[in-house]
């Protein structure tokens, strides 16, 4: 499946902003099952400095500095991505979760996608004992890790209410857990916290999910917005496996991965520091269109 993605972020400021320095994480990753055919980020006002690089986790980032005074900052990212993921493994064939815990702890690498990066609490996905106890119910002794994780994800889908009004981007994990509601970001953080609490390596994935529902199937929540889910390391043989905790499904060709990190703070699409005194408003629009018919 080929997608055209358009993601426009606009900041408007009450007072003119003298300068902006920002990090943009809007170019989808090139990785197994996903090939970026074309991508670009257009910024106005035009930046005085712009550099593209890969961050620690291998995400494609742009670092930008604007020095012209401005009242509006617009970041428009476009990408054409081909997605063709291999079949997900049968959960029952994955190793026991206790084995994965041991293997992750002993994993001999400090690179971005080493499971050791998913083991510890992070800024927005700290350990939360109630979340650990909640997750524990799915992890019975000897249970294959992916089977247990799918069970956990299914329970989150049924126990938690999708409710954009319940939380904001800054709502702490504990509060969303308490409310049993939130959006993709909250569900991902809660699931990650639960997995880490058990000593399992989990990361946060930001991306998109296709907008048009296939005929006869229900519309998937997450249309026209950024989406987020969980990646769980399932041992040496199976590596990282992505679980959409909002829709209770293993990711397939409907998902496009943009960035991976320990939590939202590592992958936030536009992170900026402005030198300013007034207030600001932010608007975001996202379009994800399949373009398979053009082939």
């Amino acid at each position: 499946m080929i997608y055209d993605i358009r993601h426009v972020t606009t900041y408007r400021y009450d007072e003119a902003v003298a300068s902006t320095r920002c990090t943009v994480r809007l170019s989808p990753r090139n990785q197994d099952g996903q090939h970026v055919i074309d991508s670009g980020v257009d910024i106005s006002p035009p930046p005085a400095e712009k550099a593209e690089s890969l961050d620690y986790f291998g995400n494609r980032i742009a670092t930008v500095r604007i020095v012209a005074a401005h009242r509006e900052l617009r970041v428009a990212a476009i990408a054409r991505v081909e997605v063709a993921r291999p079949q997900a493994p049968a959960p029952g064939l994955t190793p026991a979760w206790e084995q994965v815990r041991r293997d992750a702890l002993a994993f001999p690498s400090l690179d971005g996608l080493s499971p050791v990066n998913g083991l510890y609490p992070s800024r927005l996905a700290s350990l939360h004992a109630p979340a650990t106890r909640y997750a524990e119910k799915s992890f019975t002794p000897g249970c294959p890790i992916l089977e247990a994780a799918v069970d956990l994800m299914t329970r989150i889908k049924s126990d938690f209410k999708y409710d954009p009004a319940a939380t904001a981007v800054s709502t702490p994990l504990a509060e969303a857990f308490e409310k049993r509601g939130g959006v993709c970001q909250d569900f991902a953080h809660i699931m990650i916290a639960g997995l880490r609490g058990l000593g399992l390596p989990a990361l946060y994935v930001s991306g998109y999910i296709r907008t048009i529902p296939p005929p006869g199937k229900p519309r998937l929540e997450g249309a026209d917005a950024s989406h987020a889910w969980v990646s769980l390391w399932c041992g040496h043989e199976f590596g990282w496996r992505d679980l959409d905790s909002t829709n209770a499904m293993l990711i397939g060709d409907d998902h496009i991965v943009v960035a991976i990190g320990r939590d939202y703070a590592d992958v936030s699409p536009v992170d900026g520091i402005i030198f300013a005194s007034g207030s600001q408003t932010l608007s975001v629009s996202v379009d994800v269109k399949p373009v398979t018919e053009e082939r």
Binding site: C22, Y56, F107, G112, Y120, G199, S226, H227, D271
Partner: protein
């Protein structure tokens, strides 16, 4: 204080008996090694030398010396802040130094040199090729769990070639007589400045003794540290900045002190900006390159763009500047990962592997529970262990904030902790329980043994590591010798390394040949200029408020049957004080208590005390730029206002209090004018005073010199601006409105007139650097020149309240224009909002 050698040794017998009773009364803790006496209770020779000299003083003289040391600590404002407390505390200094023999010192020094070399190698491997990880010598998970594993620094070569430039280790002596490393400090080690201060205080209290004892000096260490930083920079005359978290930091005093001592620019995050790939300081002369940053801000707070977004202490883009090799940062962000206890467990093996030798100073035995065998071993010896967080000061799951002894836990806590260790062992470490040796402290005329730890420092220089001979010794308040219960220690002590031969004396003075003569030093950071300016304004405002209060008091005193004119003056003075926020606005009857409150009220925002506090807050941010004497006067200003010595709230007492405070301000003004170097800092301080005085004088003139002002009101005005004598000398006829207006507003020879203030402002502005070289006047100068000219040609007969108000407003416009041109001007670094549109 050098008289004690020349003086004949009087009362040898009593000196001897004093020494003997100190020894006899000294009771070491059984089973614990002591620094002063050996196992048989016999004093060690180097201590006897110290006690012998001390015993030559009478008990009274000893107490006087100790009291002098304490006073000096208070006077110098040596202080620290306990986290979360608003007030700074004096640093408690033990009156007895810790003595370290040369033999002991060799052992420590060589161990520290080896250790920091090892740690530097580990950091460059972990952030670089990570061979130790790949080959299984160090588990990746033992690194990744540290909050100071700064992922963004992976693959980065540290500019200047080193991860660590200042290192500290806490060492203690075990029962076997060996020195042990209890922990490493590589993030931003504190305490070196306090060690220097302690040395200054104690060596003054015991000057002769200090010279006799062959104590190794500290100054060369600091000189070498600074040289090492300078040599690491790309430019030959680098600008070195000490990045402080600000006055709220626990060790701000130390940072300000070291910045002044080492000649560095003390900056906060806001002072720095990253542009064109480099770091710069925002100064009044524009952006100036920052070559070296000695950071006292923890890694996580260094760069809000790449690290903790909530940080207001860092510099957005700092990590990028490091990646580009354009700034040397000491220590490198990420160096702090060495501090985690998890790593401690691997150091003995890593030393053998990387250096081919054993650690010369062993570290306290540690087991990281992220490994199965080690975890089981900790759990099966639980009661003999100290349980610690593997990556944090506190133990995850326990709300204590420090390590705990397995044996001191209650049954429930114990059970829960063991379950947590089974579930997430990687978060925990077990350590053997270490019993520390004791050193004597002075306790009411006797010596008492107390456990201690010594923080030892090493600095990177171009020819290797240099270890500070001495250190920051912390002494426990209790007799419990288990290291885990030391906490931060109850007091600190100076550590004297006793050389066997006389030591070479040196200070920070460099060889004369290497010093280029410079007359105007550096560039003033905008934030410092801002605070100096406001310090000046607040001091002047305190003065004006005190003068208002004094003028009102004296008129109330002889006003049993006030004439109309006096009553009017009293009313206007009251209105002014209320308008300035010194008294509540609705007071009809001014009681003396209300007037006393105008000086000392904590609540009224315009009371003299409140403004004096604002002045001190502004000064505390630029403390390294004020002399010790000036800083003391700033503190005394407040004590004068609140002191009990002036009794109650009668008018004469209030006047006395106000005058005492005015004298302190006069002393401060004198000090600033006579002692402060005429560099840009002085310009801003003085401009602040001039602007404020100009504005206040306009306000007074509008109140007391309007068209229908009577003689009594003109008289008040002359009081307020301190020009009675000048006026009487010049005019014999008595007060008349036009001459008074001329003297107050226009007279260029009267140092209290508005015209005089504006002329000085204009001169200050002319002396300051300009941003562009196009020869055009900058805005503040343009405003000041025009104002100066207008005042010069103004005619006192034509002045009315409208005109005076216009001058006042132009002065306020000038203040705004100075702020816009030279200061950061209200804008600050703000994070952009984060995307909410999430599915």
């Amino acid at each position: 204080m050098s008289g004690e050698r020349a003086r004949p040794l009087r009362g040898d017998a009593s000196a001897q008996s004093r020494t003997e009773s100190w020894i006899a009364d000294y009771a070491p803790i059984p089973g614990i090694r002591d620094e002063f006496v050996d196992a048989a209770g016999k004093p060690r020779p180097h201590w006897m030398k110290l006690l012998g000299a001390l015993a030559r003083l009478t008990p009274d003289e000893i107490e006087q010396r100790f009291a002098a040391a304490d006073r000096r600590i208070r006077d110098m404002g040596i202080s620290y802040r306990v986290h979360g407390e608003a007030r700074e505390r004096s640093w408690p200094l033990s009156h007895m130094p810790l003595l370290v023999s040369e033999t002991d010192w060799q052992e420590i020094r060589s161990g520290i040199e080896q250790r920091v070399d090892l740690l530097e190698r580990i950091l460059s491997d972990v952030y670089g090729p990570a061979q130790l990880i790949a080959e299984g010598a160090l588990p990746a998970a033992a690194v990744a769990g540290s909050p100071d594993f700064v992922r963004a620094m992976r693959g980065v070569k540290p500019p200047g070639g080193r991860w660590i430039r200042l290192y500290a280790a806490d060492v203690g002596r075990g029962p076997d007589g060996r020195w042990w490393v209890l922990g490493d400090r590589t993030q931003a080690p504190s305490g070196a400045g306090y060690a220097l201060e302690n040395r200054l205080v104690l060596s003054r209290a015991f000057a002769g003794l200090y010279r006799e004892m062959n104590v190794e000096r500290l100054a060369p260490f600091f000189r070498d540290f600074r040289t090492g930083l300078a040599e690491a920079a790309l430019r030959s005359e680098p600008r070195i900045c000490l990045l402080t978290p600000g006055p709220w930091s626990e060790t701000y005093f130390e940072q300000a002190y070291l910045a002044r001592y080492l000649g560095m620019l003390l900056v906060e995050g806001e002072d720095l900006v990253m542009s064109e790939g480099r770091l710069h300081v925002r100064t009044i002369a524009g952006l100036k390159r920052a070559d070296v940053i000695w950071r006292r801000v923890d890694s996580d707070w260094c760069d809000p763009l790449e690290l903790n977004a909530a940080s207001q202490l860092g510099v957005p883009g700092m990590l990028e500047a490091i990646r580009r090799g354009e700034v040397v940062v000491a220590n490198m962000p990420g160096a702090g990962l060495i501090e985690s206890r998890a790593l401690l467990a691997f150091l003995p093996a890593l030393a053998r592997r990387m250096l081919g030798e054993d650690l010369r100073l062993p570290n306290i035995a540690t087991w990281w529970c992220g490994q199965e065998r080690e975890r089981e071993s900790v759990l099966s010896n639980f009661d003999e262990m100290t349980i610690s967080g593997a990556f944090s000061e506190s133990v995850p799951g326990l709300n204590i904030g420090r390590s705990v002894l397995g044996s001191e836990l209650g049954a429930n806590e114990r059970k829960a902790l063991i379950a947590s260790i089974r579930e997430r062992g990687m978060d925990y470490a077990g350590q053997e329980v270490v019993r520390l040796s004791t050193t004597p402290v002075w306790d009411g005329g006797k010596l008492a043994p107390r456990p201690f730890t010594l923080r030892v420092y090493a600095a990177a220089t171009s020819d290797g590591w240099r270890v500070m001979p001495g250190g920051f010794c912390r002494v426990s308040g209790r007799g419990d010798a288990r290291a885990v219960n030391m906490g931060e220690g109850a007091q600190s002590a100076d550590a004297w390394v006793i050389a066997e031969k006389p030591v070479e004396i040196s200070t920070l003075l460099p060889a004369a040949d290497n010093v280029k003569i410079v007359r105007l030093l550096g560039n003033l950071p905008s934030r410092a200029a801002d605070n100096l300016f406001w310090f000046g304004r607040y001091i002047e405002r305190v003065e004006a408020t005190l003068r208002l209060i004094r003028a009102l008091c004296s008129r109330l005193m002889d006003a049993d049957m006030p004439a109309d004119g006096v009553r009017q003056s009293i009313d206007r003075l009251r209105r002014t004080l209320a308008a300035w926020g010194a008294t509540p606005p609705d007071i009809d009857q001014f009681t003396p208590a209300a007037l006393a409150a105008a000086i000392q009220s904590e609540e009224a925002y315009g009371s003299a005390l409140s403004i004096a506090r604002a002045a001190r807050r502004a000064a505390s941010v630029i403390r390294e730029r004020l002399s010790q004497d000036a800083w003391q006067l700033v503190g005394r200003l407040e004590t004068r206002m609140t002191s009990k010595e002036f009794g109650g709230a009668s008018e004469p007492e209030i006047i006395e209090r106000a005058e005492a405070a005015l004298h302190t301000i006069a002393a401060l003004s004198g000090l600033v004018n006579e002692n402060m170097n005429r560099v840009a800092g002085w310009n801003f301080l003085d401009m602040g005073r001039r602007i404020e005085r100009g504005i206040n004088t306009c306000r007074f003139a509008r109140q007391f010199a309007d068209r229908d002002a009577r003689a009594e009101q003109l008289d008040v005005l002359l009081d307020l601006i301190d020009s009675q004598i000048t006026y009487r000398a010049r005019y014999i006829v008595g007060v008349a409105s036009a001459p008074v207006r001329d003297m107050v507003l226009l007279d260029p020879y009267n140092p209290r007139s508005v015209g005089f203030q504006v002329a000085r402002l204009d001169e200050h502005l002319a002396a300051l650097p300009v941003l562009s070289e196009d020869g055009m006047l900058e805005n503040p100068r343009r405003i000041a020149m025009k104002l100066r000219a207008d005042l010069a040609i103004e005619d006192a007969d034509q002045l009315d309240t409208q005109k005076i108000l216009a001058f006042e407003q132009r002065l306020m416009g000038l203040a705004d224009s100075i702020a816009a041109r030279y200061f950061l001007d209200g804008a600050q670094s703000v994070h952009t909002k984060r995307q909410e549109g999430l599915a």
